[in-house]
């Protein structure tokens, strides 16, 4: 019989790829902060309104939320009992992460207007 459903390799790839991107983003962001700290509110806004920063930051949050989903899904499947509760908990978790994604997108779009 053909095995159906998630085998886990996609989650494994997503976890690793998002980790590598976040690592690069955090190191680069930290260095930028240290070399050229945005001392004032307008400077901070101007930095975040840049197209490059906006795209890199959006990609960071996409990676972060995907990474969080894989990790929290593992935690829920390991510890939430009875197992019949896993589905509803994961659904709530997914909704929460999607809501955060929408929030981030609104922030990044508003800062450019």
């Amino acid at each position: 019989m053909v095995k159906r459903g998630p085998s886990g390799w996609l989650a494994w790839i997503v976890q690793r790829a998002s980790a590598l991107y976040m690592l690069a983003f955090l190191v680069a962001g930290l260095l930028w902060f240290l070399v050229d700290p945005p001392g004032s509110h307008p400077a901070w806004r101007a930095r975040m309104a840049g197209a490059g920063t906006g795209i890199a930051t959006a990609a960071f949050f996409a990676a972060l939320l995907a990474h969080a989903w894989v990790g929290l899904r593992d935690v829920v499947l390991d510890y939430v009992r009875p197992r019949s509760l896993c589905g509803p908990v994961l659904a709530g978790l997914g909704l929460g992460l999607v809501a955060v994604a929408a929030w981030v997108l609104r922030i990044l779009v508003t800062v450019r207007t």
Binding site: R16, A19, L20, L23, F61, G71, V75, W103, I107, V111
Partner: protein
């Protein structure tokens, strides 16, 4: 094993759930801390996004966020989050290196687990010193 048994008149079997006596290997400690730190960081996501939102809205929001960070609870939270990020990131890098067969043999794995555990605590200490 004195002090390690559940005494009742009918049942004197030992129960090996004394947390003080279970010797957790250093790798297991790094691993469970990796998971705990991950959950803490996930809880921190909405807080971080809220801070980003406030800091970009205007100078008042920026000042309000800075003022909110002054309190003792937020400083403690910053220290905890600094530990969580440092430990989770370093333990993650350790796993990525093991994926490509760097340090996956037991002696090196134990040594790197020690280093990750210690470095996470060192960053927390640094954050505590900086926050006060």
């Amino acid at each position: 094993m004195p002090g390690n048994t559940v005494s009742s008149s009918r049942d004197r079997r030992p129960v090996f759930l004394n947390l003080a006596q279970i010797a957790l290997p250093v790798g297991a400690l790094a691993s469970i801390a990796h998971r705990v730190a991950g959950v803490l960081l996930a809880i921190g996501i909405p807080l971080g996004v809220y801070a980003l939102d406030l800091s970009l809205q205007g100078p008042q929001g920026f000042a309000r966020m800075a003022a909110a960070l002054e309190g003792l609870p937020s400083r403690a939270a910053v220290v905890v989050m600094a530990w969580a990020l440092a430990h989770h990131l370093l333990a993650g890098v350790r796993h990525l290196l093991m994926d490509i067969d760097v340090g996956s043999r037991l002696p090196e794995a134990r040594r790197s687990a020690w280093m990750v555990n210690a470095a996470g605590l060192a960053v927390a200490l640094l954050a505590a010193v900086t926050a006060w």
